[in-house]
């Protein structure tokens, strides 16, 4: 069965390594914080200027001055620090953040990502996405395999305006874990009960399928 958004987040959480600084984008990526494996300690960076972001506050405990990059109220952990935007992006550009997880509208087989603009429809700005994808060494995209019209988002070439070029290394969808290498998608794992045939049929880009594709262990 295909995963729900929480399942995608849970699978991505398995990629976390102890001691990493991690930046989570808006949407499914935010949920990754709920599934940090036991024994793993990571610090979350929010590009509006926080290192050491904690869980969401309980009702009535919100502080209107304390928000994440998605403008949701948050809490901070002991030892957290605040800084200005230039410092925040120095951390990102300087590759001091080990993992970025973000959503996408399209990903192509050479690692291009489009997630900020639909010409004539949505022009809100890129926020920090271009800085994040241009600099992070390790980028995982969390998204659904197809868009609402049922068209594959895993493409030979992106059709929407790009956010970054050749930067995505891994994609986790409700169906599969894909790696991007040598200009192709590689099928690494499939969601429990999802067939390889279904993944192939919903993937527009070139997909390398090994003889044995293990199921995700969630």
């Amino acid at each position: 069965m295909a995963l729900d958004k929480n399942g995608i987040a849970k699978r991505i959480a398995q990629e976390l390594k102890d001691g990493w600084y991690v930046n989570l984008g808006i949407g499914i990526p935010t949920l990754v914080a709920n599934y940090i494996p036991e024994g793993i300690d990571v610090e979350f960076q929010s590009e509006n200027g926080i290192l050491g972001m904690g869980p969401f506050p309980f009702d009535g405990q919100e502080d209107p001055d304390l928000i994440n990059a998605g403008k949701q109220t948050i809490t901070v952990r002991d030892g957290a620090s605040f800084f200005d935007s230039a410092m925040s992006f120095a951390m990102i550009r300087g590759q001091h953040v080990q993992l970025t997880v973000l959503g996408a509208m399209e990903v192509s087989q050479n690692g291009d990502i489009a997630n900020w603009k639909i010409p004539g429809k949505m022009v809100k700005g890129m926020g920090g996405a271009m800085d994040l994808v241009a600099s992070a060494e390790n980028i995982i995209v969390a998204m659904m395999h197809s868009n609402k019209a049922g068209e594959s988002k895993i493409l030979k070439e992106c059709t929407l305006p790009l956010t970054g070029v050749g930067c995505v290394k891994k994609v986790v969808t409700e169906l599969a874990v894909l790696e991007i290498k040598d200009g192709k998608f590689h099928l690494i794992e499939r969601a429990p009960g999802v067939s390889v045939e279904e993944i192939i049929s919903k993937t527009e880009g070139d997909l390398v399928v090994p003889d044995f594709v293990p199921e995700m262990q969630l």
Partner: protein
């Protein structure tokens, strides 16, 4: 030296039509609302505003947009503002959308006397159009120029007579730190307390 003035009118004295302002705030946090109210009262026009966001329709820079006081916005994310979208699509408002990190660094560079810098952000996208590209350590970067302004307005929770500011009071965690240092790159820093 005492830098404290008695009201927003005095703080914003000198702002004229056609000037460039850096304006603090992220989402609905840290918006210098008293200074913006004063700008509405002054009725200054043709402003260029450098600010991460553009507020919402009835708060923050949205108030200046409603009064058609802004000629150009330099921002990174401008969602959640219908009047902004209307003015942008009709061509009344000039809009320059910039990656957030590049925007912050362009402001910092302006204040630090660095005229331009190379960044990988935006390479291969429409942001790179017309910009010089150079390879450093095997990776392409684009040239971004510094931004400066005539005035910067920021919100603070507390300040002293020397002009040191504390941005927000977070009593539960006892963490206090000034930010908005980036906006020191304007010639004159102004703030309104709550």
């Amino acid at each position: 030296m005492n830098k404290v003035v008695k009201d927003p009118a005095q703080a914003l004295d000198g702002i004229q039509d056609g000037m460039t302002l850096m304006v603090g705030g992220f989402g609905l946090c840290g918006i210098p609302e008293n200074s913006i109210a004063q700008l509405v009262k002054m009725g200054v026009k043709n402003l260029t505003c450098i600010s991460n966001n553009a507020g919402v329709d009835d708060f923050g820079l949205g108030l200046l947009l409603q009064g058609k006081q802004v000629k150009k916005m330099i921002s990174s994310y401008v969602g959640e503002n219908d009047e902004f979208e209307r003015q942008m699509l009709s061509g009344e408002l000039e809009v320059d959308l910039i990656p957030q990190g590049s925007l912050a660094e362009r402001c910092r560079a302006g204040g630090a006397g660095i005229p331009a810098f190379f960044t990988p952000a935006g390479y291969g996208t429409e942001v790179a159009e017309g910009k010089e590209v150079r390879i450093f350590n095997g990776k392409p970067h684009i040239l971004e120029s510094a931004l400066t302004a005539d005035f910067a307005i920021v919100k603070a929770w507390k300040g002293d007579t020397e002009g040191n500011l504390i941005a927000a009071h977070l009593p539960r965690r006892k963490i206090r730190k000034t930010h908005r240092t980036t906006h020191r790159s304007s010639k004159k820093l102004t703030y309104g307390t709550r």
